[in-house]
């Protein structure tokens, strides 16, 4: 039997359905691959027994002809999702050892549809980071390497473990979350497909909150079809999250391969940043040509408030985070460092429990919400957010179906290369992605080429609210047209 880890999710699903192999065999292959890939540090916790137990149940269902949509498909779960009986840490020391008694709605949806769990995937601490270097459990190493170099490359972040695990074939798909680009940037860095759905498409219940008004769950997978299959299971209304939307979930897979003829694609001129690398500019141009060739109509558009998005994001997100992370106080669960009184307990616990980047954002957020600063920072940032959303609304009102942009301003970088001296250098990674979160829109990233040093580059498609289907159709068109990017061979095993 050939290596089952080399299958796509859709291929594995079809193979299971036609009984070419069993769910147990499939899961065993992935369990073994995960065990061999410890040097990538993609998983914080491995749950091989759970995966195999679920796989046995899947085989029984397949035998009875009762297979569910994701029957026996092994997945990795970002460690921001609460998983019942399995440690959930948000990659933070402050939650080390925390085992929830509840399952997040999105992961529960995946188990409902028959998927199996290989383990909990590494991430930036509390999803704050763009390189997966802020994890208390150490950085994730990308399976990708530059041409003729052994330098360790970051997988991006915060869903670095999810992207690396998919790219290294350590699962058939992974859950991820995106607050400012945390699904799409790592997908772009690892040659995988990631979609941040419309805000409200997936339930946030049971996912450790970073910035509640921006956080959204989504999948990372090898290709557009796999991402579509996963999102269908993940999405849906949840009465436990009042910001989730009660609208039917379409069969996204049906959109994959649909014609894009006549679709109007907006090209926002403001995204052509000063100093944009020629490589990224050329990639974007090629994307335009591929869609044009597929029958889409290309139209230049203007999103005038784009340049304010990143600064506004770095006010709104830390503000919400400073409040969301107040519950980690050492009183009820997680890390506790006692001192002479309760204030001491708070200070010692939080100083020891939170890493540097998380502490920085809590301080920024606390500052911008303070009396006397609220209007100047938080309130203005919210106004900018409204303007950004209006920019998109106006573009869509003129008949634009989707917007094409680069995913990131550069390919992946080496560990320690960025942000050590100036955190803003790291924040700039999100320049093309944060606007989408600020406007609550869906954004899909697909691999579109390789950089001059052989690292993946991605393009981003931004859609109308709840029109993920158009993104899947357009994403597949790019996937078809772009040169095939082979995932890296396992140098780590």
């Amino acid at each position: 039997m050939s290596d089952l880890t080399r299958l796509t999710l859709a291929e594995a699903r079809n193979g299971l359905a036609s009984k070419k192999f069993s769910a147990v065999e499939l899961n065993q292959a992935f369990v073994a691959a995960v065990a061999r890939a410890k040097s990538l540090n993609a998983y914080i916790v491995e749950t091989p027994d759970k995966a195999l137990e679920q796989a046995r149940a899947s085989d029984e269902r397949i035998a009875k002809g009762e297979a569910r949509p994701l029957e026996g498909i092994p997945l990795g779960i970002k460690d921001l999702y609460a998983t019942e009986g399995v440690q959930t840490t948000a990659a933070s020391h402050i939650l080390e050892g925390f085992v929830p008694r509840y399952e997040s709605t999105v992961s529960a949806n995946l188990w409902r549809d028959g998927a199996t769990m290989l383990g909990k995937l590494n991430l930036d601490e509390f999803a704050m980071g763009s390189s997966n270097e802020t994890s208390f459990f150490g950085p994730v190493i990308s399976p990708w390497r530059r041409k003729n170099s052994d330098a360790k490359i970051v997988p991006g972040g915060s869903s670095g473990g999810s992207a690396a695990a998919v790219a290294a074939r350590l699962c058939l798909g992974a859950t991820a979350t995106d607050t400012g680009g945390s699904i799409r940037q790592p997908a772009a860095f690892t040659g995988t497909v990631g979609i941040k759905p419309t805000y409200g498409r997936c339930s946030r219940w049971g996912i450790v909150a970073f910035a509640s008004s921006l956080d959204q769950a989504g999948p990372i997978a090898q290709n557009v079809r796999d991402a579509a299959i996963l999102l269908r299971s993940m999405a849906g209304h949840d009465p436990k999250d009042t910001t989730s939307v009660d609208a039917p979930v379409p069969d996204y897979e049906k959109a994959v391969g649909a014609s894009v003829k006549g679709k109007v694609i907006g090209i926002p001129k403001e995204y052509r940043l000063d100093g944009m690398s020629a490589e990224i500019a050329a990639l974007w141009d090629r994307g335009v040509e591929w869609l044009r060739a597929a029958g889409a109509e290309i139209r230049e558009i203007s999103l005038p408030h784009t340049r304010h998005a990143l600064p506004a994001y770095y006010i709104v997100a830390p503000a919400e985070a400073s409040s969301n992370l107040a519950r980690y106080d050492g009183v009820r669960y997680g890390l506790r460092k006692t001192g002479k009184d309760i204030v001491d307990l708070y200070e010692l616990t939080r100083a020891a429990g939170f890493g540097k980047e998380v502490r920085r954002r809590i301080m920024i957020g606390t500052y911008v919400l303070s009396a006397g600063y609220y209007d100047a920072y938080y309130l203005r940032a919210q106004k900018i957010r409204t303007l950004i959303k209006r920019d998109f609304d106006l573009a869509y009102q003129t008949g634009v179906d989707a917007i094409l942009t680069p995913a990131t301003p550069s390919p992946a970088f080496a560990l320690g290369e960025k942000g050590a001296a100036d955190p803003v250098e790291m924040y700039l990674n999100d320049v093309f992605t944060v606007t989408v979160n600020m406007a609550g829109l869906p954004g899909l990233v697909v691999p579109a080429g390789l950089s001059s040093d052989g690292l993946p580059l991605g393009l981003q498609l931004i859609g109308r609210p709840f029109d993920e289907e158009t993104l899947f159709a357009l994403g597949e068109a790019i996937e078809e047209a772009a040169p095939k990017i082979a995932l890296p061979e396992p140098w780590w095993a």
Binding site: L95, A209, S212, T242, E320, A326, R327, L369, S370
Partner: protein, 489 residues
């Protein structure tokens, strides 16, 4: 009539009269089965931490979901306060660290409350009424409870109350004395209990007040205020205001100034003391809670709730005066509790309302008070007190016998008419029998007859003798008339 400074309300100081200005923030626990944002029970008195959901404990990834029943209660209360109902309101986070605040923030309403301005009419006496403005009413979460006395070195936290819905009802600074403040809280409590949006139970903490107090010379602008936190009885509210006003007057008359601060009232020592100064005040970093969409509903939603609203105390009082011809005082006493008003209405059906009101207020309420019982626990039912009134009206029993009858019904129950029958309590209205008794007494007491002719007040002695002779059952009116005729007075 409004809250003009009446001289009687002023406090005399060394430098002249002072006026006290009071505004109240009442925290009323919303009557609902479950908490404001979680499905956990709100029942009082459970074992510590037995009514705590994952949301209440602020476990990672938990989200609040608004309990619609609490929203309805807030709207109903707003309608009862004749207040503006805001069709769009926003929940904000009030951020601070405290062990009994698991989220690290309280979900409250800051800039956009569910209820805006309204008013409450407060009766100070049967003839004096003031109008107290309501600034706003908003919904918020209660905190848990810290327990420091269970162990020598550690504290414990009980989260049963954590997340329970509160309505904070903020008055305008319209109150001018401790008595006015007490009357206002009493009236507000009555309205809340009528509506059923708060049980008003102060011992269990269902109703607490933060009291804002300042003093000024009449006619001057408002002085600097102090806020007395968490006063939990109407009596203490009055005491705290008097004590705090005196303290402030003392400082000002000594040439000092009032520091704006938060204070606590110590009923044991009869003093208020500083809790935290303005400088120490928290920066709560309010911002809209991103987990909750703005709360929106339309006028039709409000209209349905308005239709289901019970008759409120002011309307009921006016109706009792108009419909039953009661005095404002009697009507005011009867409507204090909705259950008592209902009791009266049931008892008075088709009867002499003034008589029934008298019996309900004097006999029934007196006895209930004495025995610490509520109207719901009254051993004498409305139908029974009505039956007693019937027996009085029909001259079957005298007022005195009626009191004995009430006592029997209170202790033993039963149909009053039958009790009168079986125990021979029936009033003797047979004039023949009375005449016979009168004749006998006149015959036996010729000296007294002579005296009575000179001094008609002697009649009372004869009445007493006749009643005695008839076992108290003779109709006093008939006795009087017959005696007068026979004695020729």
């Amino acid at each position: 009539m409004n809250s003009q400074a009446h001289s009687s309300k002023l406090i005399a100081g060394a430098t002249g009269d002072w006026e006290v200005v009071i505004g109240l923030e009442i925290h009323a626990q919303v009557t609902s089965r479950s908490k404001l944002f979680s499905g956990a029970s709100t029942e009082f008195g459970g074992a510590p931490n037995s009514h705590v959901s994952l949301v209440d404990a602020a476990m990672p990834g938990m989200l609040p979901v608004i309990n619609e029943e609490c929203v309805k209660q807030a709207i109903r209360t707003g309608l009862g306060l004749k207040a503006q109902i805001n069709h769009r309101s926003v929940f904000d986070r009030k951020n601070y660290f405290y062990p009994d605040l698991p989220q690290g923030y309280q979900i409250s309403q800051y800039k956009n409350p569910i209820v805006g301005e309204g008013e409450v009419l407060v009766d100070l006496s049967p003839t004096e009424q003031i109008k107290v403005g309501i600034e706003r009413l908003h919904l918020e979460q209660d905190a848990g409870k810290s327990l420091h006395d269970l162990g020598a070195n550690d504290s414990h936290v009980d989260l049963n109350r954590s997340g329970v819905a509160l309505m904070e009802i903020v008055s305008k600074p319209d109150l001018r004395s401790a008595d006015e403040a007490k009357a206002y809280v009493t009236k507000l409590r009555t309205i809340l209990r009528y509506i059923g949006s708060c049980d008003g139970n102060m011992e269990q903490g269902s109703l607490r007040a933060d009291v804002n107090v300042s003093v000024r010379k009449p006619g001057e602008s408002f002085g600097t205020r102090c806020e007395i936190k968490n006063v939990n009885s109407i009596r203490f509210i009055g005491q705290a205001i008097d004590v705090e006003a005196r303290r402030q007057i003392g400082i000002l008359e000594d040439g000092g100034t009032i520091d704006q601060e938060t204070r606590l009232y110590d009923p044991g020592k009869g003093e208020t003391r500083s809790m935290r100064s303005k400088e120490e005040a928290h920066d709560y970093r309010y911002f809209p809670d991103p987990d909750l969409l703005p709360l929106e509903f339309d006028q039709a939603y409000v209209d349905v709730l308005a239709t289901d609203l019970p008759e409120l105390p002011d309307e009921k009082k006016a109706r009792f005066i108009a419909q039953y011809g009661l005095s404002p005082y009697d009507a005011g006493v009867l409507i204090l509790e909705r259950a008592a008003a209902d009791y009266f209405e049931e008892a008075t059906k088709g009867r002499d309302a003034k008589l029934v009101a008298n019996w309900v207020i004097n006999e029934l309420f007196g006895r209930l008070n004495k025995e610490g019982k509520s109207i719901e626990d009254s051993p004498v039912l409305a139908a029974q007190i009505g039956a007693i009134a019937d027996l009085i009206s029909a001259h079957v029993i005298s007022g005195k016998l009626a009191k004995d009858l009430f006592d029997i019904v209170w202790l033993e129950g039963g149909d009053p008419a039958k009790i009168v029958e079986t125990r021979g309590m029936k009033q003797v209205t047979d004039t023949g029998a009375i005449e016979k008794a009168v004749d006998e007494i006149i015959a036996k007491n010729p000296d007294k007859v002579e005296q009575a002719k000179a001094k008609p007040t002697m009649l009372g002695w004869f009445v007493g003798q006749v009643m005695k002779a008839t076992g108290g059952k003779a109709n006093p009116q008939a006795v009087n008339e017959i005696l007068k005729a026979k004695l020729g007075i």
